[in-house]
């Protein structure tokens, strides 16, 4: 990466038993009139006790969206209001972040609110009831009924990681959230919001006094012990398993994928990231799948592929930081297609994946993707807050010089052979899990087509070139090897119950 316009500082910390310097990530940007905070705890939904899934997420919200011992939630909102500032939280499988940004004019008042929220949460009954109700309504109504694409991705993640601490959505399950009490939240906070789990991120136009104050104040958290959850070991996949979620749906949303053993920092990760960018760069017409399914055939709004977690892709052009994980999945996201084109679209994507694994990338595509990424990667962390988040993720993955620097080096270093070897080693088009979110009326026919390997021809309302129609014939009979026992159907009302 060129043109970094900040200096990376490590400020040594005085005193024992306080926050260690390796737990601090400081990006000082003198000319930035704002200050960004990210207080990260290495604890996430993987730490939810069994039967209390969703506890980590509820606890974080009881800090960011509730009152403190000093101010009721109303008072917190009233004080933040003129500053145009907020306190946010995010919980992923492995990490929780309490974050916020303020103009330096308002630093003292803002800092007080943020530190009160984290260090003196009120855990008031009224706030708890409101937040819990919001979570339940998200799981029962919003996720099940109003965003089929997110539902598909959430069900796929759960399907791949079943039996592991990654299996449930961060928000939890309906029954587990219902069982969570305020006492559970207090206990979770006490055990996990500790110095042992903490990483402090600070960026922008701050001065050293703020660092000192932050260290001193955070030293009041209990020392604790680092949370120790073994990395998830999903069951190795054999063949293709399918989950169909049956509901009232005007179109079919499809996601499929498999776990991979490559993480940011690994050489193979960059090889796979490069190939996946070519196959399906997120919301970019560079995506080959997009060209095949949307651009040439007009079947949907877009088709993409991922080697890292990318939450809420429908609303974002670039992923947020601090969703770092010790186990990743490769996945393909096919945006809703007309019900009659669902198996065709699935086959088309599967076929492209097969070509990529079996034939590898072409020299031409490889060169083009390297060129593309050298510039496109510049867009990933435009703001101070994002840069800070990425620097913190570098600590998680142990990437000394930073992910973006390493990515740039890898783009120079990796050869076509490296990429194709990594594809053969990590990717498969035969061992995977797939999720279809579709209309109840489609379920039986979908099952029969998948099991019977029945052709799924397609017709268009507008003329298409001969070569497209020829390729369609091949796609529509692309062999599927799925038996009745590999398919499960779930009614939407019981998903994440």
């Amino acid at each position: 990466m060129k043109n970094w316009f900040f200096v990376f500082l490590l400020i040594p910390v005085l005193g024992a038993c306080q926050i260690k310097s390796e737990q601090m990530v400081l990006l000082k940007i003198k000319e930035d009139p704002t200050i960004s905070f990210r207080l990260l705890f290495k604890v996430g939904s993987q730490n939810d006790p069994q039967g209390k899934e969703g506890l980590a997420a509820l606890t974080a919200e009881m800090i960011s969206d509730a009152g403190s011992a000093e101010d009721s939630y109303e008072e917190v909102l009233a004080k933040l209001y003129p500053m145009a500032a907020g306190i946010g939280s995010s919980v992923d499988k492995e990490m929780t972040v309490i974050s916020g940004r303020t103009h330096k004019d308002n630093l003292a008042a803002y800092y007080q609110l943020l530190s009160n929220a984290l260090l003196k949460p009120a855990f008031a009954e009224k706030d708890f009831a409101r937040i819990k109700d919001n979570t339940l309504s998200y799981l029962k109504k919003n996720l099940r009924y109003s965003q089929d694409e997110e539902l598909g991705k959430e069900v796929l993640s759960s399907f791949i990681f079943e039996g592991t601490p990654y299996a449930h959505p961060e928000e939890g399950l309906v029954s587990s959230v219902e069982s969570i009490t305020l006492e559970d939240v207090r206990d979770f906070y006490k055990t996990n919001y500790t110095r042992a789990n903490l990483m402090v991120g600070l960026a922008g136009g701050f001065d050293d006094d703020l660092v000192e104050k932050l260290e001193k104040d955070l030293a009041s958290l209990p020392q604790g012990t680092p949370s120790a959850v073994p990395a998830p070991q999903p069951t190795p996949l054999k063949g293709t398993s399918v989950k169909i979620v049956s509901k009232g749906a005007p179109a079919t949303a499809i996601s499929f994928g498999f776990p991979i053993n490559a993480l940011r920092g690994d050489r193979d990760f960059y090889a796979l990231a490069l190939a996946t960018s070519w196959l399906g760069e997120h919301r970019n017409s560079f995506s080959h799948l997009y060209q095949v399914i949307r651009e040439t055939r007009g079947l949907n709004y877009g088709d993409y592929a991922y080697v890292e977690h990318f939450p809420n892709g429908g609303r974002r052009q670039f992923p947020p930081p601090n969703v770092a994980r010790r186990r990743a999945i490769f996945q393909i996201w096919i945006r809703p297609v007309p019900n009659e084109a669902k198996v065709f679209a699935f086959r088309a994507a599967l076929r492209e994946l097969q070509h990529l694994v079996d034939r590898g990338m072409s020299a031409e595509d490889f060169e083009m993707t390297r060129k593309f990424l050298r510039n496109y990667n510049l867009h990933y962390a435009p703001t101070t807050m994002m840069k800070l988040g990425y620097a913190m993720d570098d600590r998680f993955y142990g990437i000394k010089d930073g992910h973006w620097k390493r990515y740039a080096e890898m783009l120079d270093e990796l050869t076509l052979e490296d990429v194709n070897a990594a594809l053969r080693k990590h990717f498969s088009y035969q061992n995977l899990k797939a999720v279809f979110i579709t209309d109840a009326s489609q379920v039986e026919e979908l099952k029969a087509t998948l099991i019977g390997n029945t052709p799924s021809p397609i017709s268009y309302s507008s003329p298409k070139p001969e070569e497209v129609l020829d390729e369609d014939k091949v796609i529509s009979t692309f062999p599927l090897s799925i038996s009745a026992g590999d398919i499960t159907v779930e009614e939407v009302d019981t998903v994440f119950q």
């Binding site: 909102l77 500053m83 109504k141 007009g298 079947l299 709004y301 052009q317 496109y376 435009p382 298409k464």
Partner: protein
């Protein structure tokens, strides 16, 4: 911004779904946005794509009620190349009928992905109910029947380009790390030959609403009930105190620090949230208040509370402190958002679309400083009245 190595290169076309005045053509501005990626004779779609890809441009576009915006964020050393591409497609767009028809399929796909959302359903119903004559009657996505017919509109699409994609209807917006004198020279070079010829669409004025309109609709799925209350507003004008006072009124009366928010969200927990958007539009549109209600039995209660809030603001003066806090919030909020080339351009695009220049932003904040509690009350008396009111109540049928 200097030193970031990036430039936001935006083209704001002052045409949005508002300009779709011909029957059967709703959704066309948005559809046309898609067609702009289909290439020219000099740079056919695949060549265009390869060049954009090679430069790693973050290129996208979006369409709104009042404008269409083509966004590129590009590394500074590629600025001229991007300008060459952008100026070419705006002057020489050329596509065949078959890809045009294929793209119509993608647009229908976009509609299908949106339509499962209850807010999209409520929005569509609100626009249809609140407007009789003005093109704001349809959403930017368009009526479904019109979207279905898009593959048949090839000839029309050519005339759409001829009439609206003209230099007298487009504004180039550059922000970020670049030399502005050099950029101006480049603009002369690449856009100098572009011929004016914009034909303003005869958009019908909406007659004054003469009574409240209410509609209850069913959503085919489960959702918490939605309440959407909209008052007919006024066209944007940064110098018009009533427009700016109304903008502040929305936040004061229904925003995160309002009495009704505290009561319904925090105290009584009757709604999951309530919010307002008294925004800026080219023609008089709607001042919206929306809420997600926890229980169907509270729908009417929430509407009563909105009504009572409107009455209070018509009768009483807001405190000077609350007004000052909001002005402060708006200033800090706007400034804090200007932190990347892309976000600067995003913050300016609508203002440019509404007025054709960026001076309006300074005028807006100047007028805002002058707004008094009396102005806010006057805005409430003008706008928050029953004759201007529209209500959509949406319930899930499977709940």
């Amino acid at each position: 911004m200097k030193g970031s190595g990036l430039v936001a290169y935006y083209t704001v076309v002052r045409t949005g779904s508002r300009d779709e005045y011909e029957p059967g053509k709703s959704g066309f501005a948005h559809f046309f946005e898609h067609m702009m990626f289909r290439g020219t004779e000099k740079f056919p779609a695949d060549v265009y794509n390869d060049m954009v890809n090679e430069m790693g441009v973050d290129a996208n576009a979006y369409t709104t009620d009042d404008y269409t915006c083509y966004t590129s964020v590009v590394s500074t050393d590629n600025l001229e190349k991007v300008m060459e591409l952008e100026s070419d497609r705006f002057q020489n767009l050329s596509y065949q009928k078959a890809p045009f028809q294929t793209e119509a399929g993608a647009v229908y796909g976009e509609y299908r992905k949106n339509v499962v959302n209850p807010w999209a359903v409520a929005h569509e119903a609100m626009m249809d109910m609140a407007f009789d004559k003005h093109t704001y009657q349809h959403t930017t996505m368009g009526f479904e029947a019109d979207i279905k017919m898009m593959p048949e509109q090839y000839e029309y699409s050519l005339s759409f380009f001829q009439r609206y994609y003209r230099p007298d209807n487009c504004v180039l917006l550059l922000a970020g790390d670049f030399d502005s004198a050099a950029a101006q020279k480049m603009i002369q070079k690449y856009y100098g030959e572009w011929k004016p010829g914009y034909q303003a669409p005869p958009v019908a004025a909406e007659p004054a609403q003469n009574g409240e309109r209410v509609k209850a609709i069913d959503y085919d799925g489960q959702t918490l009930p939605l309440v959407w209350v909209s008052y007919k507003g006024k066209a944007y004008n940064a110098a018009d105190k009533m427009v700016v006072a109304a903008f502040l009124l929305g936040d004061l009366a229904f925003g995160e620090n309002s009495e009704i928010y505290k009561k319904l969200v925090i105290e009584e927990s009757k709604v999951q949230f309530i919010g307002a958007d008294f925004g800026f539009n080219r023609d008089p549109k709607l001042y919206d208040i929306y809420s997600m209600v926890r229980s169907e039995s509270d729908i009417d209660y929430v509407i009563e509370q909105i009504d009572a809030t409107a009455a209070k603001f018509r009768e009483e003066l807001v405190s000077a402190e609350a007004l000052e806090n909001l002005k402060k919030r708006n200033r800090y909020g706007y400034l804090m958002d200007l932190d990347t080339p892309g976000s600067v351009a995003d913050a300016l695009a609508r203002f440019i679309a509404l007025t054709g220049n960026i001076d309006t932003v300074n005028q807006l904040y100047k007028t805002m400083q002058q707004i008094t509690p009396e102005d806010v009350r006057e805005a409430a008396r003008t706008f928050l009245v029953k004759e201007r009111r529209n209500i959509i109540k949406l319930k899930g049928v499977q709940s």
